[in-house]
């Protein structure tokens, strides 16, 4: 049976993790590679890096982080943030990433997703959708970290990206992101039920039960969280145990 995935996400800036507590068993808590190794040991199903490096000249620090992670963690690694062209994806893959997550650039030029899928295969193209509620049962796609409205309906956009060749959708509720109030379940379910490709639920996780809800009620096949793992509130192993206790198939 296919197992539902738990994916910890790390925000990386200039090659360092942005936030987090001092894990006593880490040699260097600010090193994303050390953090990735910890998640690997704890049983994470995949890893995700979100690069928020502002300046282009510091972008090389990300490739270094990806390369060092790929040498030590033999599990799927997704990297997002600043993926604007085919060449960005190529560099990430050459550094050792398995999937590239495209967000703003997909909205700016939808054909980019099709070109990327044709060039590298759908299996390595994740389309990240940041959505905000705009009234009952409707959500709109936002870009630039949730600052810019696009007027695009999130469910329709997910369908379009799936048909363009995206391998999966990373769906983040901008209303819930950072609130610890749980996933936007109606949003997650609306998108997951509308497309055949997998949906990763993201944004708002504050408790382990939120992870259960994302899969059981939101119909996502993977759940992504950053702060509950990064701040040490819960371990990956605890998350999996809770999912298993709720009857959700997980890899233990």
């Amino acid at each position: 049976m296919l197992k539902m995935r738990v994916i910890p996400c790390l925000d990386v800036k200039d090659g360092r993790t942005v936030k987090g507590v001092n894990f006593i068993d880490l040699i260097d808590a600010g090193d994303p590679v050390e953090q990735a190794k910890l998640y690997d040991r704890e049983g994470a199903d995949e890893l995700c890096f979100l690069d928020i490096t502002a300046s282009a000249e510091n972008r090389d620090t990300l490739y270094d982080v990806v390369a060092r992670t790929a040498e030590q963690c033999f599990m799927p690694l997704t990297v997002g943030g600043g993926v604007r062209g085919v060449e960005d994806i190529r560099r990430l893959l050459l550094a050792g990433a398995d999937k590239a997550s495209i967000n703003t650039a997909a909205v700016a030029r939808p054909d980019f997703v099709r070109e990327a899928a044709e060039k590298f295969g759908s299996q390595c193209i994740v389309v990240a959708i940041d959505a905000k509620s705009v009234g009952s049962g409707r959500w709109e796609v936002f870009t630039h970290g949730g600052r810019r409205a696009t007027g695009i309906d999130a469910v329709e956009w997910a369908k379009r990206m799936a048909s363009a060749g995206a391998g999966e959708i990373l769906l983040t509720s901008m209303d819930r992101d950072g609130t610890k109030a749980g996933f936007d379940i109606p949003l997650t379910r609306s998108v997951a039920d509308a497309i055949r490709i997998p949906v990763i639920a993201s944004g708002g996780v504050g408790t382990l039960d939120h992870l259960v809800e994302g899969i059981r009620d939101g119909h996502a096949t993977a759940v992504l969280a950053a702060s509950i793992f990064h701040f040490g509130s819960f371990s990956i192993a605890q998350a999996k145990a809770r999912l298993a206790a709720a009857g959700i198939p997980v890899r233990l």
Binding site: L2, K3, A70, F74, L77, G96, G167, R196
Partner: protein, 213 residues
């Protein structure tokens, strides 16, 4: 002694090479892992690995586009009987033909076709993506130390429908049975990605590097 990982423009081979290097080092196997698009290197290699991501037809064309590579593969693998491991689409390429978007001939090494996954349950997502449990169907040195129930990482929308049941060494359940490991003579292939399958994957890679068919 060289283990050649064939680079024919299909995806990222760095993580695959790193996994092979790690597996060889941990198992104290003396082999040089070399990512190559040079046909002569493949012809002389002790072992050959054919990765592959993307669509069947693209991979088939990509392989055909490397000067001398198919002849080198044929000589090393078919005539000299060097151990061969195909990964994902690299495994599927051993089939008679692929039916992804268009019908294209495969290498014809293991009888069967590559067809779309059609789960009985329409709610199951395509691609089949994530960790799934292996069910072993036959004993094989490649699977030494790996038991049914071990998890491996899959990402694919098409499957290898083998004509001969005995060529299927392990399966996985996804709305129906899917070939997860195939093998015949000196040929083996995994639908999943051993280089992404943590301890189980490294074990399988080490088994391959030790294998003397």
């Amino acid at each position: 002694m060289i283990t050649a990982i064939i680079d024919y423009g299909s995806g990222n081979l760095r993580s695959a090479a790193k996994a092979f290097e790690r597996a060889a080092r941990e198992a104290a196997i003396d082999t040089e892992i070399r990512v190559t698009h040079d046909a002569e290197t493949v012809r002389r290699a002790e072992r050959v690995v054919l990765p592959g991501v993307g669509a069947f037809a693209d991979c088939r064309r990509g392989l055909a586009a490397v000067p001398g590579m198919e002849a080198a593969l044929d000589e090393a693998v078919r005539r000299r009987g060097r151990p061969f491991l195909g990964i994902c689409v690299g495994m599927q390429l051993m089939a008679d033909r692929g039916r992804e978007f268009e019908t294209v001939d495969g290498l014809g090494w293991i009888a069967g076709e590559v067809v779309a996954i059609a789960p009985a349950d329409p709610a199951l997502k395509i691609p089949h993506m994530g960790w799934n449990e292996l069910a072993l169907r036959a004993a094989h040195p490649l699977l030494d130390g790996i038991a049914s129930g071990a998890h491996a990482y899959f990402v694919h929308s098409y499957r290898f429908a083998c004509a001969e049941r005995r060529d299927v060494l392990a399966t996985v359940e996804y709305g129906g049975e899917i070939a997860a490991v195939v093998g015949r003579d000196n040929l083996v292939g995994t639908q999943f990605h051993p280089e992404k399958s943590q301890a189980t994957g490294l074990r399988l890679i080490a088994n391959f590097l030790r294998w003397r068919p």
